[in-house]
Amino acid sequence: MRELSLNILDITENSVSAGASLIEIDVIEDTSLKTLSVSIRDNGRGMSEEMVENVRDPFCTTRTTRKVGMGIPLFKMAAEMTGGHLELSSRVGVGTVIAAHFKTDSIDFTPLGDIDATILTLITMHEEIDFVYRFKIDENEFVLKTSELKAILGEVSFNDIDVRMWLKDYISEQTQIIRGGVT
C-alpha cells in the first residue's frame, strides 16, 4: 500500500464485514517521541482464539475467491518495517481491536497519506454504522462522531451532494488545523 490511510480503509472494511454497529478509529501521532499509532476498534462479531492466532498469516482468509488474505499481513508488515508492531485482540460476540504502532523517523515509514478520503469513504458508504474518528497530533485533537452529524441531519443522507461536500471540506479543514496549517 502506498499510504497508511489505505491500510486503515482496508482494515476497517473488516469491521464492516463483521457486522459492527460502532467503529472507532484513532490516529495518534507524537512528534517528540516520533511515533504514530493507529487503532481500529469495533463491536462486530469478533474472532475465535484460533482465528486470532492465524489471522496474521497471509494464507488465512474468510474470502472464497482464493486462499490468501493480505489485509492484516500488509498492515503488520508496514508497522514492523519501521521497528513498530501490531496488536490484535478479539472476543466472539464482543468485538475486535487492532492497533499498529509505527516509528515515524524510520526510512521505511509509509506516510499516512489522504486519511480524509479514507474517513469520508467509510462514513458515506456505511451510513448505518456509527463512526468515531479521532485524529490527534501531540496536544491537538479532532474528533468526528457521525452520531452527532446524524442527529443534525435527520433523514438527510451523507450522500446528498451538498452534505457530502460539506463533510469533505469540514474534515479537511479540521485536519489542516490539527496539522498546524492554515485555520
Binding site: L9, M70, L74
Partner: protein, 126 residues
C-alpha cells in the same frame, strides 16, 4: 470555517429535494455501479474511483443510479474493477479504472447507454 450551523441550513435545502426526488423516481429500475473494495482493489487505487463515481453521479443529479462497493471480484491484477448492472442489459466490467475515466463512463454508459468498450474486460481479448 465549516460550521454545524451551515450543516443545518444544508439539511433544510436537502429535505426539499428529497420530496421532489421521491415523487420523480416512480418505479423505474435502478442502474448499479459496483466498485471492488477488497485489499487488492484498495491497493490498486479503488478509493478515488469509488469517491469519483459517487460525486459524478450526484453532481449530475442522476436518478435511479446507485454506487456501492463489493469485495474481491476475483481478477486482482485488473483492479480497480468497476461493474455496471443496467436494467435488462448484461453486466459490463471495467478494469484498471482511474478517476480520469469516470466522467466518460458516466456520460457515455450510465447516461447514454453505450459502454466504453476500450476500458472494459472485453478489450483484453484483442
Amino acid at each position: 470555517m465549516k460550521t454545524l450551523e451551515e450543516l443545518l441550513a444544508i439539511k433544510a435545502k436537502a429535505q426539499a429535494n428529497i420530496t421532489t426526488r421521491e415523487s420523480a423516481d416512480g418505479s423505474a429500475e435502478v442502474t448499479r455501479i459496483v466498485v471492488g473494495m477488497a485489499t487488492c482493489g484498495i491497493a490498486a487505487g479503488a478509493r478515488p474511483v469509488l469517491n469519483g463515481f459517487v460525486e459524478e453521479v450526484s453532481k449530475r443529479n442522476l436518478k435511479n443510479v446507485t454506487v456501492s462497493q463489493t469485495g474481491c471480484i476475483g481478477m486482482c491484477q485488473y483492479e480497480p474493477i468497476v461493474e455496471v448492472f443496467a436494467p435488462g442489459k448484461e453486466k459490463v466490467t471495467y478494469i484498471k479504472m482511474t478517476p480520469d475515466k469516470i466522467a466518460r463512463v458516466v456520460a457515455d454508459h450510465i447516461v447514454n447507454g453505450n459502454p466504453v468498450t476500450e476500458y472494459t474486460v472485453a478489450s483484453l481479448k484483442e
